[in-house]
Amino acid sequence: MAFLSIERITKTFGATTTVKGVDLAVERGEFVTLLGPSGCGKTTILRMVAGFETPSSGTIRIDGKDVTDLKPHQRKIGMVFQAYALFPNMTVADNIAFGLKVARKNGAEIASRVKEMLELIKLPQVAERYPYQLSGGQQQRVALARALAIKPQILLLDEPLSALDAKIRVSLRDEIRAVQRQLGITTIFVTHDQEEALSMSDRVCVMSEGRIEQLGTPFEIYNYPKTRFVASFVGTLNILSGRVSDGAEGRIVVDGQEIVTSRGLNGASTGDALAVALRPEALSIGRANGSSNNLEGTIDEVHFLGSVVRIRVRFKESAVSLDTFNRPNAAPPERGQPITVNFGREDILVLEGAPN
């Protein structure tokens, strides 16, 4: 049985249901990220696990024990907030010691634990400083140490990096992940930044409007998105609308040109509308022979991004973007030129749900 198991929880605020029957099982020591756009209910789920909100229905179990109705202070859960959650009136050491004092540990034990935590976050020199004397990144590391000091069963992080600037964000996410691995603590991380989610997690749980769209490893989520939403939310994606011309052989007509998917179209009948997706990195310029797909179109836009040139190719209704490397000895293609792009049969992602 999973260490943390969230079973069919819903949460209703007044007339709106924010979380709609979410099931999630997190294994011991696993790092799971809730990823989704603003307002999809990520924080609400986290707050229900922490005990700050009570689910309208459903059950939350930690290590087999039903904690749905326990108060937050009875749950032994470490929480790191977006920002400004350190106690401003206490030094860093006192902040980290707070939970231990609450638990009535003796002085020597507290002192050694605080020291251990400060070393864990690589900030042994700031023990006597006040939070306002630390940078944002340091504050978040102290917040992490404070949450971990009580040896919580589960660590919850609600967009802990979003108030920081880009460089620190990247280095801190590696650090958080390293600490999490070192301690082997079961962790739920909330973010709306897909790069953060993909780079840190064992598994990513993509959410939309209070539901889980897809749960899987970063590799699965990125390469095999199950729904149109996941495909478009994670990574850049070209979506083409088409119609099935032969379901059994995986033939699809897009803007009058036929493409073939190697994965087949189980259960689809001729004439069905569907959406397929292509990652920009799967597309190359030129006509390819053999089993590859070719689509003819015209160049719509050319964006010079430095090392990469992003080209937008228009077919009739649909358009795709693709990236080529910049070569100093070859001028980039120009708008209006005809162009053929090719991609492998296996690169086509067929999305669930009707295209719109």
Binding site: A50, H73, Y84, P88, V102, Y132
Partner: protein, 260 residues
């Protein structure tokens, strides 16, 4: 742009004259107790008067109790209203403003009617219980100032996040209030406390009608019977008030854990 400085200055000078001239005149008069020279004789007389010492320490004690009861009442209330019952805020704000609208004399007559010695709760029956009544009355009088200071201070801190952080670390409500919330709003609490002190020290109506030996009635008594001492007393009372204001400023500028 030069011209725009002119009127503010006029305003400032007018205000300064309006406030300072009577004060300076009072001070000057208070120094003239000894014929022909300036001296602090009047101050010596006042400070040496056992009546002054007794009434001042009585009022100071009552002020202290008022502050304690006031903090114990206002801090949890303002905290809970802000955290859990934001809808109640207008109601609570209105209630805390009532003491500014209802005159003290009305409050005290209400008290005398409710708690007189033949009522079901005869608080005016003994001196001690009347002191209690006085403290409650003063808590009411200082409510607008105390509530406002505390509420403003609470708004400058992210109390929700701090509360939740403390809760997830296992803390109970009393500990959250005392160790996390109170220290972070101490500037507001202390300014509320000093304002309360200034109000209680100078209050006359309620103390007089409840017949308590407070500083206000004492000042009134001296004022009615002496010539130079009341002026000295007035200056002393001003000095106390200003000291309170100064302390508020001082506390606000020396608070650990906050940016200066």
């Amino acid at each position: 742009m030069k011209q725009s400085r002119f009127f503010p200055w006029i305003g400032f000078i007018f205000g300064a004259i309006y406030f300072l001239v009577p004060l300076i005149a009072t001070f000057e008069f208070s120094l003239r107790m000894q014929r022909g020279t300036y001296s602090f004789k009047a101050y010596q007389v006042v400070l040496a008067d056992p009546g002054f010492q007794a009434s001042f320490s009585y009022s100071a004690l009552i002020a202290l109790l008022t502050i304690i009861v006031g903090i114990a009442l206002v801090v949890p209330t303002a905290y809970l209203v802000q955290l859990k019952l934001p809808k109640l805020r207008p109601v609570v704000e209105f209630m805390t403003l009532l003491p500014l609208v209802v005159p003290a004399i009305v409050i005290v007559f209400g008290y005398l009617r409710m708690y007189n010695s033949s009522s079901w709760l005869p608080l005016t029956g003994s001196a001690r219980s009347t002191d209690l009544l006085l403290v409650f009355a003063y808590v009411t009088l200082s409510l607008p100032y105390m509530y406002r200071s505390v509420d403003t201070a609470l708004r400058t801190v992210d109390i929700r996040t701090l509360t939740e952080a403390a809760q997830s670390l296992g803390s109970s409500w009393p500990r959250i209030l005392i160790q996390v919330i109170l220290p972070n709003i101490r500037v507001g609490v202390l300014s509320g406390a000093f304002l309360t002190f200034a109000i209680v020290i100078g209050e006359f109506t309620i103390a007089s009608l409840l017949n308590r030996p407070a500083f206000g009635p004492y000042m009134q008594l001296i004022g009615a019977n002496r010539a130079y001492e009341p002026a000295a007393l007035a200056v002393i009372a001003f000095a106390i008030t200003w000291a309170c204001m100064g302390l508020i400023q001082l506390v606000a500028s020396f608070s650990p854990g906050q940016k200066r």
